[in-house]
């Protein structure tokens, strides 16, 4: 017996909630540093703060041992440019990201990442994560350095992306956080940041949360707070029955951290940016089908008759052999590698890939479907590295792909792995499993924007730091989350050491406690959380889609508010789990409002933000080549202007190195 349906039909009884429920019961936790979000960024923040001797608490939505987008593993680590084999410098890497994005990414955050990525990875090794080929399984392989036993991905010459055996990375850093005495509070849905005097824009002194198993209320008092949460994955689309299994972000991704920050008065930039919802889950189980991207970079793709699809370099010139797929070509200093949180790669840093006109050639019948990955065409080392090392350690591949596929008899030495059969356009990008063409065109993902931070990864609010991937302007993916988390935790601890005891405003706490439990007091006939979430997503698709104008954005804001004050206000939660999900709907609405308000402020279309105003159709007019930091003051939006290279302008120094030395605290 496994399911609720089986249980009910076997026993004739509906099981009672298994955890003791006490809605509203107050628990108080006092710490020096509070970390909101216990994913890889949050735990790294907690560890670095705890090592400096301060008292740390983590507020985690799931369970910190395996939670978060990075909790399911990692197979390669980006930006480790200071490793002993690297031929890339932090400046080179930072400039490559910054120039690729035409300046539309936080250059200071990129620089911090590249300065500390390798050190952050070395700490992983000390925590028990394998980052070298210590068993000599790949001795002599072209991607391995014999002295250090490090193995590299994407660019075997420049050697700045390191292959790692990270399937257990989350349990390992969880153990370390526990060992250091970090107070980890699981199943917490945060509802608000607490500020001095309860005022928007004032110093952050903690947070409130509801436990999604017991319903109890938690008040965290902290001298400093780090936000380390994920993005708002359920904002534009809500169909978990179909999409959850194809997604690389789990259900808990409700943009809670961004919502908390916005309500407290923190500043954001580029929240008007979005892109096609390619990874929203209208896909196949990640890495479970043939493709030639990311973890599978370099995999030979053949058609139904065994004819191999050629590779080209960034300039559309033929790549002659397998080794060439992993080397920069003429005109390239180095290859950046995929999955670092930027949406565009300048040609001189772009990956080698399958031919760009594959869709056209499939349509003409030159390559017959289905396509397959034929790993038998690779050397034993390359084959084993893709299926066995990368697949087996990358997120959602140890059990979901390696274990399940091999138990079912798949053998990469003998078998061709089939690619999705889809419309020809689906083969335009070598990441076939995510098949962007399956995602409805109205489904977008927020991207590129987030909290605006300074060189210490502090927000505009005293006591509030950010270390994360998706919601930090300039942040990246897995390794970048570790690195920024570690850096933010260090600075939060440094601040907390001399900060006075946190004084929370009782009125603010009581108001939060009152509003958090509304859904438990409603009529049982009230809406459930899924109904609300689906409606939020509908509003976002319709009114904050690819093409925007002032009237429809304003109507969208009106409808989000309608939903909040009508259907959500009368929604009913039958247990603490549903209450947690309804509170997430509040977060989603807040993030949706933030995106719409940011969209209203940018009165010009912008190619880098994939931002299209029908009423301001001119794309990239020079006078709009600027950031528009936004925050709330007395619940009114305040906007200012900031140059894209603000991180190298007064009050900062004009060079990366100088700023890093001054602000890193390393």
């Amino acid at each position: 017996m496994s399911t609720w349906h089986e249980y009910v039909q076997k026993t004739g009884k509906v099981p009672e909630w298994p955890y003791p429920v006490d809605y509203g019961k107050i628990n108080e936790i006092v710490c020096d540093v509070l970390v909101i979000g216990g994913g890889v960024a949050g735990l790294r923040a907690a560890i670095s703060a705890a090592r400096s001797g301060v008292k740390v608490a983590v507020l985690e939505r799931g369970h910190a041992k395996r939670s978060g987008a990075g909790g399911a593993g990692v197979d390669h680590w980006h930006g480790a440019v200071t490793n002993p084999c690297s031929k890339v410098t932090p400046e080179m890497y930072t400039n490559a990201c910054y120039d690729s994005m035409n300046g539309w990414t936080g250059g200071h955050v990129r620089y911090i990442i590249t300065r500390e990525s390798w050190d952050t990875l070395l700490e992983c090794e000390k925590m028990g994560i394998q980052i070298r080929d210590v068993n000599d399984e790949f001795k002599g392989a072209v991607f391995r350095d014999e002295a250090t036993k490090l193995m590299f991905a994407y660019d075997y010459r420049s050697r700045h992306v390191i292959r790692v055996w990270g399937f257990n990375i989350k349990p390992k850093i969880y153990e370390e956080a526990r060992r250091l005495g970090v107070n980890i509070q699981n199943r917490m849905m945060p509802t608000a940041l607490l500020t001095a005097g309860g005022k928007q824009g004032a110093k952050v002194v903690g947070a409130t949360a509801v436990n999604a198993r017991t319903g109890e209320f938690y008040v965290f008092k902290a001298k400093a707070t780090v936000i380390a949460t994920g993005g708002a994955g359920r904002l534009f689309d809500f169909a978990p029955e179909v999409t959850a299994s194809g997604s690389m972000g789990n259900m808990n991704a409700s943009g809670a951290g961004e919502a908390l920050g916005w309500k407290a008065g923190a500043e954001f930039v580029c929240m008007e940016g979005s892109g096609p919802g390619r990874l929203t889950g209208y896909a196949y189980a990640p890495y479970s089908m043939a493709n030639a991207h990311n973890t599978y970079h370099g995999a030979p793709i053949v058609d139904a008759d065994g004819k191999e699809v050629p590779w080209v370099d960034a300039f559309n010139r033929p790549v002659k052999n397998v080794e060439g797929r992993f080397l920069p070509s003429e005109g390239q200093d180095f290859i950046l590698g995929e999955g670092i949180g930027i949406s565009r790669y300048a040609e001189q840093f772009r990956n080698n890939s399958l031919i760009y006109d594959l869709p056209e050639r499939v349509r003409k019948g030159e390559f017959k479907l289905p396509l397959y990955a034929d790993l038998t065409r690779l050397s034993e080392e390359e084959r084993r590295c893709i299926f066995g090392m990368m697949v087996g350690n990358e997120g959602k591949t140890r059990i979901p792909v390696y274990d399940i596929m091999t138990k079912a008899g798949f053998d990469p030495d003998k078998d061709l792995f089939q690619a999705p059969v889809t419309m020809p356009e689906g083969y335009a990008h070598p990441n076939f499993w995510s098949t962007g063409v399956n995602t409805p065109p109205t489904v977008r993902s927020l991207g590129g924007g987030g909290f605006l931070t300074d060189w210490e990864l502090r927000t505009n609010l005293e006591g509030l730091y950010v270390g994360a991937g998706g919601n930090l302007f300039g942040g990246g993916c897995h390794g970048e989350s570790h690195t920024t988390g570690r850096y933010a935790g260090r600075h939060a601890a440094e601040y907390a050491r001399t900060a006075p005891e946190a004084a929370v405003d009782r009125g603010q706490v009581e108001a939060e406690r009152e509003s958090a439990y509304t859904a438990t007091r409603q009529s049982k006939g009230g809406n459930g959380w899924k109904e609300i979430n689906a409606a939020i997503a509908r509003i976002m698709r319709d009114y904050c889609g690819e093409y925007k104008n002032e009237q429809t954005l304003k109507l969208g804001l009106r409808l989000l508010n309608e939903l909040k004050t009508t259907e959500l206000a009368s929604a009913y939660a039958s247990n603490p789990h549903e209450l947690g999900r309804l509170l997430e709907c509040r977060s989603l609405i807040t993030v949706g409002e933030l995106a719409m308000k940011a969209s209203l402020e940018r009165k010009a279309s912008n190619s880098m933000l994939d931002f299209h105003r029908i009423d301001y159709p001119q794309t990239d007019p020079p006078e709009w080549n600027k950031l528009l930091p936004m925050r709330q003051e007395n619940d009114r939006v305040k906007v200012r202007e900031l140059p894209l290279d603000f991180h190298l302008k007064a009050p900062y120094a004009s060079g990366y190195e100088e700023n890093y030395k001054k602000y890193s605290g390393a």
């Binding site: 017996m1 099981p15 009672e16 298994p18 395996r66 257990n168 066995g388």
Partner: protein
Amino acid sequence: MSDKAYMVPNPPTPNKAVAFNPDICTGCNLCVEVCPTDVMMPNPEKKQSPIVVYPEECWYCGGCVEECPRPGAITMLHPTQQRISMNWKRKDTGELFRLGMKSPPPPNNRPPSGG
């Protein structure tokens, strides 16, 4: 003969996400403890397998299977729409296989790298 019929909501999609083997599972609830989205809950009867309550909230990380101290007690089940898509072809014979087929080929017992 017929089983008693109950007025229950339709089975959710996906139906299960994970399945327990009652002969191996001891109901220790370690999987319940770590699941990031509370897909399953402890069984009201002690030492019995957990109950899958919210299968549509599963994102298929496999953490529950990794956590389980008794191999085989819990199995991750991709939704059928994903299982039907995971196909492969033996290069030298042209035989077609897929995840979930009736007569699967023998397992490939090679462990992952490092493992």
